[in-house]
């Protein structure tokens, strides 16, 4: 569960592409051990926000601190030291197509740790067991289904036991049962590894399973912040409209 130490601290973040302002004056704190969900309609800057946190995108202004380190002022070398403490699950899982599942999982281990091949093998098998895909160890990504790819992507992200995990639409494109399984798996891993998580999603059912706290981004700004119950039970017209569709989808899924 979350404590009072800030894992991520964002202040006055601004990002625009040409004339299009995507994030405007966004400030938020994510506590250590917290599961923090970012909601919002398509194109409201949710993915941009988490890509700015890991500096895949450079913000125009503002500050981002991870574990009290100002990441925007770091050199590439120092930034990579911070990135070693992070995990990132991409929407498409982004598995390396030319590598087998084993090679995908070993990739960060070979480059950042001095494990022997036996230790690496043990870690790979252990993390595959966590995502219930031990049998896929020698498969190529092209042989995996969408749900399996997500699980392997998740396994690759957590194999180096990150302190902070970022999820970009972890359940998008999956069938309801697999989406629910992935959501439960994320929660289970977060609890067992005691990670802090930021989850960008449209999926209310996923958020209900995972979230400690959530925000809703709209027009580049944080419009609402609270627990999932507070947001879904709000009388605010925007939230009622936003969540009415999500509630219908979530109800359909839980049937």
């Amino acid at each position: 569960m979350a404590d009072n130490i800030k894992m991520v601290e964002i202040k006055n973040l601004h990002k625009q592409f040409g004339d299009l302002v995507v994030l405007e004056d966004v400030s938020l704190d994510v506590m250590n051990g917290e599961n923090f969900v970012v909601f919002g309609r398509s194109g409201t800057g949710k993915s941009v926000l988490i890509k700015c946190i890991v500096r895949l995108l450079e913000p125009d202004s503002g500050s981002i601190k991870i574990d009290d380190v100002d990441v925007l002022s770091l050199s590439t070398k120092k930034l990579n030291e911070v990135r070693k403490q992070l995990g990132f699950l991409f929407q498409s899982a982004a598995l390396y197509d030319s590598m087998s599942v084993r090679q995908n999982l070993e990739f960060p281990l070979i480059r950042h740790f001095d494990f022997s091949s036996a230790e690496r093998e043990e870690k790979v098998r252990s993390v595959l067991k966590k995502v219930s895909l031990e049998e896929a160890i020698d498969k190529m990504p092209a042989e995996l289904s969408g749900g399996m790819r997500k699980r392997i992507g998740l396994a690759r992200s957590i194999i180096s036991e990150p302190k902070l995990m970022l999820y970009d639409e972890p359940t998008t494109g999956l069938d309801p049962i697999t989406a629910k399984e992935i959501s439960s798996l994320i929660l289970e891993l977060q609890r067992s590894l005691k990670m802090t998580s930021i989850i960008v999603t449209h999926d209310l059912l996923c958020a209900e399973i995972i979230a400690d706290r959530a925000i809703v981004l709209n027009d580049g700004e944080i419009q609402y912040e609270g627990t999932i119950n507070e947001l879904t039970s709000s009388k605010d017209p925007f939230l009622r409209n936003f969540f009415s569709h999500e509630i219908i989808k979530a109800n359909n899924r839980s049937l």
Binding site: L56, N80, F88, A94, Y96, P108
Partner: protein
């Protein structure tokens, strides 16, 4: 694009000498690129050698100079046809492959995933491929020259009685060291061009699958044009530096 290619080339030389060295990746790419190109350059080299000898033989016969056939064909193959032919086929086969592979990795966020896992994608994906292209092309060129000479010998044997030993002896006598060195040396530059252009187009690909297709196509077009332009420049420079060659 010229600015981007220049920046890419500078970054390559800056990163090349900084450890850790991705020796395993370089070796893997050299084997893959070499094996991928080998069948097509073998066939093309053989046919071009054959056709070149068939075309040259009647022309030399017109001047009663058929004895010069092994030498003239050998010099043509070693100085120009072998290197440029291999480089252009390599650009088509490997340049498009690198453009498509890296382009696909870019649009499916695999390059982002590598970056976020604290691995420099430029070092891992680009430097290794450029290095492999630069050093595998000269090896392929020497091989193609040999295959083209075999093709030309077969063409000669079809019209006149000549032993392989006599033919190769005549080629070796005619082709000097000064013919072979600039011919093969320039393929290091051609290989570098294919690696840089393919990697640049793929690495900077945008707009989904359409961008991948464009990266693949333009990698071939641009690297082929640059190979021809640099061939012209390098031949001129060689002749300027060593006029007797």
């Amino acid at each position: 694009m010229i600015g981007g290619l220049t920046q890419f080339s500078i970054s390559f030389f800056k990163e090349l000498f900084i450890p850790p060295y991705e020796v395993v990746e370089v070796r893997k790419h050299m084997i893959e690129l070499g094996m991928k190109t080998l069948p097509i350059v073998s066939l093309t080299g053989f046919i071009i050698g054959l056709v070149l000898a068939m075309q040259t033989q009647p022309v030399l016969a017109r001047f009663g100079a058929e004895a010069f056939l092994p030498g003239s064909v050998g010099i043509s193959i070693v100085r120009e046809i072998g290197p440029i032919l291999t480089a252009l086929i390599f650009a088509g086969r490997v340049g498009s492959g690198i453009g498509a592979e890296l382009g696909s990795m870019r649009v499916t966020e695999q390059i982002d995933a590598m970056e976020v896992s604290a691995v420099d994608p430029f070092r891992f994906l680009v430097v290794t491929r450029i290095f492999a292209c630069t050093f595998i092309l000269p090896i392929l060129t020497v091989y193609v020259i040999f295959i083209a000479l075999i093709g030309s010998y077969i063409a000669v044997v079809l019209v006149q009685n000549m032993t392989w030993a006599y033919y190769t002896g005549a080629v070796i006598t005619s082709v000097q060291f000064g013919d072979a060195i600039p011919g093969v040396a320039k393929t290091f530059v051609f290989g570098f061009i294919v690696g840089v252009v393919g990697s640049y187009k793929g690495f900077t690909a945008t707009n989904g699958t359409e961008g991948v297709g464009r990266a693949s196509t333009t990698a071939v077009v641009v690297s082929s044009l640059l190979i021809l332009i640099f061939d012209m420049i390098l031949v001129k420079v060689t002749l300027w530096l060593w006029p007797t060659i």
